[in-house]
Symmetry: C2
Subunit: 111 residues, 2 copies
DNA sequence: TTTCTTTATCGTATATTTACGATAAGCGAT
DNA sequence: ATCGCTTATCGTAAATATACGATAAAGAAA
C-alpha cells in the first residue's frame, strides 16, 4: 500500500486480506501443497521441487511463516517446515464465513 | 512478479493464486461485502462507504472485475456492479479443495 | 580444525500495487 | 446546447513484491 490505510478497514477484513495475500502467489500455493503431501516435516527438498532460486524460495517460506500458515525451525544445515494446521483451519473458516456472508442473498438477476 | 515465471507453475496453482490476489486487499474484501449486502445492483454508493478516493475505488473495482469476482456495466452517470456468483462459487470450491488437499494428512507433531 | 552442506540474509534490479488529483467521457436534466 | 453528476482513465509518486546472485551462519562430517 502506498500510504498505510490499513487502519481504515475492519480487523477481520484485514485479517482475511492478509491470509489471502499469503496464498496470492503460485509458488506459495505450491509450497503449501508440497508440505501437505509429506507426513514428515523435514522439508529441505522444497527448493529442489520449485522452479525458483533457493533465496527466492526462502523468501516465500518466510512470508508463509509470517502469515502464520507454516511453522519452521532451522537447526543448522537442516530446516524443518510444516503446515500450521490451527491457522490454516482458521483461515479456511474465515473464507467460508466470507463466502457465506456475501452470497447469502440469492443472486438477483440485474446486471 | 519481477520476471514472468507464471508458466513455471501449474494452471490451478495460478488460478487459485490469482483469485486469492483479488481478495488480498481489505478494500476489495469490503467492496465484495458491500455488494453482497445489497439486493439491488445499482451500486453507486460504494465510493461513499469506502475510506478511499473515488479513483482508487474505481481501480479496485476494475481488479475485481478482471479477476471475475464481480460483473459491471456502466450506463452514463450510473454504474451497475454486482457479484459474479458463478465465479465466486468456483473460487470457494477451489479454496475448499485446496484446504482439503493439504490438510488431508493428519497433523504430525514434529516441528 | 577444516570442509561441506543447507538455509537465511543482504544487496540490488525490476515489476507491480496502491493511492491520489486531474481530466475525460457519457448520460440526464435544464 | 449547456450544466451537473457519476464513473473511468491518465499521470504520477511512493511503497511492496519478486527474483537472483553473493555472502553469512551454523551444524555435520571429515
Amino acid at each position: 500500500m502506498a500510504l498505510n490505510k490499513k487502519a481504515k478497514f475492519a480487523t477481520d477484513q484485514n485479517r482475511l486480506a492478509s491470509y489471502a495475500r499469503a496464498i496470492a502467489h503460485p509458488a506459495r500455493v505450491a509450497i503449501l501443497q508440497t508440505l501437505g503431501e509429506k507426513t514428515s516435516c523435514i522439508c529441505g527438498e522444497i527448493v529442489e521441487v520449485m522452479p525458483l532460486a533457493q533465496s527466492t524460495v526462502s523468501q516465500h517460506l518466510k512470508e508463509l511463516k509470517d502469515a502464520g500458515l507454516i511453522k519452521g525451525e532451522i537447526e543448522g544445515p537442516r530446516s524443518c517446515y510444516c503446515l500450521h494446521y490451527e491457522n490454516l483451519k482458521e483461515m479456511a473458516g474465515l473464507l467460508q464465513g466470507f463466502f457465506d456472508e456475501i452470497t447469502e442473498t440469492a443472486p438477483h438477476d440485474a446486471c
